[in-house]
């Protein structure tokens, strides 16, 4: 074997393997949109757009227990709570639920709600037509506001599912805070290093 020839072969292989390594690095990042896509397809991640309703036949013979839950991620003392905790609904029926946000403080901020479902696979069957989670919400000081979500339980919900929980976690958006009374300075700490 000629030395120069071998040298070339080695270099070619080196280049190929470096490309493989770079592609795999990119693949790591590609898993981010991929994961999001999978979550969208399965309905777990449906932040921004209303669902399309395919079947609007109301199934009166079946009753599903809808539970509502809310979590607040903020340090300033505003709170989101479901107005109704539990409802009996028929699949296919238009359901209207209300969540109440109370902000007893002087703080003004933007907030985003992230929906989440229990059991997880129920996500794709909760078809939301209207939801306060589709947009960021501007919250005023000393404000109490009712947010609504309108949805339909898809009648194709697996028959073994008896209870579905729709839960929102509402986050204050970083860097949107201001106060009416500027003498009070409050730091935001969640997820900030």
């Amino acid at each position: 074997m000629k030395a120069a020839n071998l040298d070339n072969q080695n270099k070619t292989l080196l280049r190929k393997l470096v490309v493989v390594a770079l592609v795999m690095f990119a693949f790591g990042y590609a898993m981010v949109p991929l994961y999001k896509k999978i979550c969208e397809v399965t309905g777990v991640y449906d932040l921004i757009k209303p669902d399309e309703i395919v079947n609007t036949q109301i199934d009166k013979s079946r009753t599903v227990v809808m539970e509502f839950d809310a979590n607040t991620r903020s340090q300033v003392g505003w709170e989101l709570v479901p107005v109704e905790v539990r409802m009996n609904v028929h699949p296919g029926e238009l359901v209207h639920a209300t969540f109440r946000l109370t902000n007893p403080t002087d703080t003004i901020f933007d907030a985003q709600a992230i929906p989440s479902y229990g059991p997880q696979h129920a996500a794709q069957y909760v078809k939301k037509l209207e939801c306060f989670c589709f947009t960021q919400q501007k919250i005023n000081a000393h404000e109490t506001r009712d947010f609504s979500v309108v949805f339909v339980i898809d009648p194709s919900l697996p028959i073994d599912v008896g209870t579905v929980t729709l839960s929102y976690t509402m986050f204050e958006i970083e860097g949107t805070r201001s106060t009416v009374d500027s003498t009070v300075e409050v730091g935001f700490r969640a997820f900030k290093s």
Binding site: L17, V20, M24, F25, G28, I114, F191
Partner: protein, 525 residues
């Protein structure tokens, strides 16, 4: 890059420390890898002993919980990335060129870089302990968002992982190129020793999986400092995503550690059975299928995050499937021994220890494959016991077997057979005292990574801690055995092992000369 045999003309080669800093010789680099990994092994071992000392009794006696978490984290990272992986790269450096009849590695200068990246990474890892707030106390898996809360030590660990990953990828590229391009005439792929095959497959696994880990820790870094929200629900991310990316690397990583160990064992068992390896081709195919399967089962590490039952079923079946090629390997090793003419020098003892204990680790793997059982045992000491059976009794015992087996070839001197055997029996006994009882702790529900525990776990923890200190001391004894062999070992005979058949034994003198196979042997017959 200069061609492999350009540096024949060694009349200008530096001596002393500079010889090692500038060396491009695969044997020097192999030795440095092995010594480095052994030092890291001792450091990681001391950290394990800090953990076991704290867990000797209920209550907090030795360290604070925060430091305890840093110890579990660094013990894991150092053992995986600093000890076991470099040890097998060391074997690869020494053995692959000699086993395929090549003069050196394909890229000798890159080889030097891949080694010299390791010490800075090791220093960064250990130095993170001195950072304000200490090292990251997040576990070697570094789950978000706990990583977001850590101090500067976390960033040092992330950089260390970047460097270690770079080193591994460069080392792997070198190994693949050497194996594919530099074999002696007549050394066809299916004639290569199994150790070379296992390393070829491992190197591909490394090139494919290490960059994914680099991606995961880079995302952690930007989440920490540059306002990205990959793993933060508030910004539209998801903490579970980190786990998917990490384990997409993490599961192949398990095989990156185990497969070269299979290779060493596949050399040692035939030699001391005086009988060729049974089912060579099926061994190669089994290793290949394990490697492919390793990319398809990652989510079995994360059932408790909650996933659809369909996904759980898929991961359960895929995981069970791994038992088949692994079983084939075990059966082939036993069949190699069957009707052989076995003798039990230290390398063979360690190989037998490997075979017995690795199989037990495989069995608990089958238990864990069943999803509902896994959920019960997830994050308990059962899992800790399981992966130590695979990594310590598997990879580490194989590394010991390899060191005792090839030491005469490397240094031209024999180790003390009696001391080697003592090292084996001490390691075997204390390993089981340490880790077998952890199965019971896990079944009883003791979570891992806790610095203090409820009283019903007290008994087995005390046993386990006693075993750990015994195991630690046995490895100090190993250092003594090694130094004794190097300083005053008997001169090794040309062929110390009756049954060895690979090129380094049949075509090279003992000890192997500094430059070997400068003209490749002609193996066409």
């Amino acid at each position: 890059m200069e061609a492999a045999h350009d540096h024949n003309h060694d009349h200008h080669e530096p001596t002393g420390i500079m010889r090692y800093v500038t060396t491009t010789n695969h044997k020097d680099i192999g030795s440095m890898y092995l010594w480095f990994s052994f030092m890291m092994f001792l450091v990681g071992g001391v950290m394990a002993l800090v953990i076991r000392a704290e867990l000797f009794q209920p209550g907090l006696q030795v360290v604070e919980p925060e430091f305890f978490n840093q110890m579990t984290t660094l013990h894991g990272l150092i053992m995986v990335f600093g000890a076991i992986m470099p040890a097998f790269v060391g074997f690869a450096n020494w053995q692959i060129p000699m086993m395929i009849g090549a003069p050196d590695m394909a890229f000798p200068r890159m080889n030097n870089w891949s080694f010299w990246l390791l010490p800075p990474a090791g220093i960064l890892l250990m130095g993170s302990l001195l950072a304000p707030g200490g090292a990251g106390g997040v576990g070697w898996t570094m789950y978000a968002p706990l990583t977001i809360q850590q101090g500067m030590g976390m960033d040092m660990m992330i950089f260390a992982i970047h460097i270690l990953g770079m080193s591994s990828i460069m080392g792997s590229i070198n190994i693949i190129t050497t194996i594919l391009n530099m074999r002696a005439p007549g050394m066809t792929m299916m004639k290569m020793p199994l150790f070379v095959w296992t390393w070829l497959i491992t190197a591909y696994l490394l090139v494919a999986s290490m960059p994914v880990l680099a991606g995961a820790v880079t995302m952690t870094l930007t989440d920490r400092h540059f306002g990205t929200h990959f793993f933060n629900a508030a910004g539209g991310g998801d903490p579970v995503l980190y786990q998917h990316i990490f384990w997409f690397f993490g599961h192949p990583e398990v095989y990156i550690i185990a497969i070269p160990a299979f290779g060493v064992i596949s050399e040692v068992i035939p030699t001391f059975s005086r009988k060729p390896l049974f089912g060579y081709a099926s061994m190669v195919y089994a290793t290949g299928s394990i490697a492919i399967l390793s990319f398809l089962v990652w989510a079995h590490h994360m059932y408790t995050v909650g996933m659809p039952v369909e996904a759980q079923l898929y991961y359960m079946f895929a995981t069970m499937l791994i038992a088949i090629p692994t079983g084939v390997k075990v059966f082939n090793w036993v069949a190699t021994m069957w009707k052989g003419s076995m003798s039990f020098e230290t390398p063979m003892l360690f190989a037998q220890g490997f075979l017995f204990l690795f199989t037990i680790g495989g069995f608990t793997g089958i238990v864990l494959a069943v999803t509902p059982i896994d959920i019960q045992l997830h994050d308990t000491y059962y899992v800790v016991a399981h992966f130590h059976y695979v990594m310590v009794a598997g990879a580490l015992f194989a590394a010991f077997a390899g060191v005792y087996y090839w030491l005469p070839k490397w240094i031209g001197k024999m180790y003390d057979e009696r001391l080697g055997k003592i090292h084996f029996w001490l390691s075997l006994t204390f390993f089981n005292v340490t880790f077998f009882v952890q199965h019971f702790l896990g079944l009883a529900g003791m979570p891992r990574r806790i610095p203090d525990y409820a009283l019903q776990f007290a008994d087995w923890n005390m046993v386990s801690s006693i075993g750990a200190f015994g195991f630690g001391l046995s490895q100090v004894f190993f250092l003594y055995v090694l130094l004794k062999a190097i300083r005053s070992g008997e001169k090794a005979p040309e062929m110390p092992w009756e049954g060895a058949t690979t090129l380094e034994w049949t075509h090279l003198p003992t000890p192997a000369p500094y430059h070997s196979f400068e003209t490749p042997p002609d193996l066409r017959s």
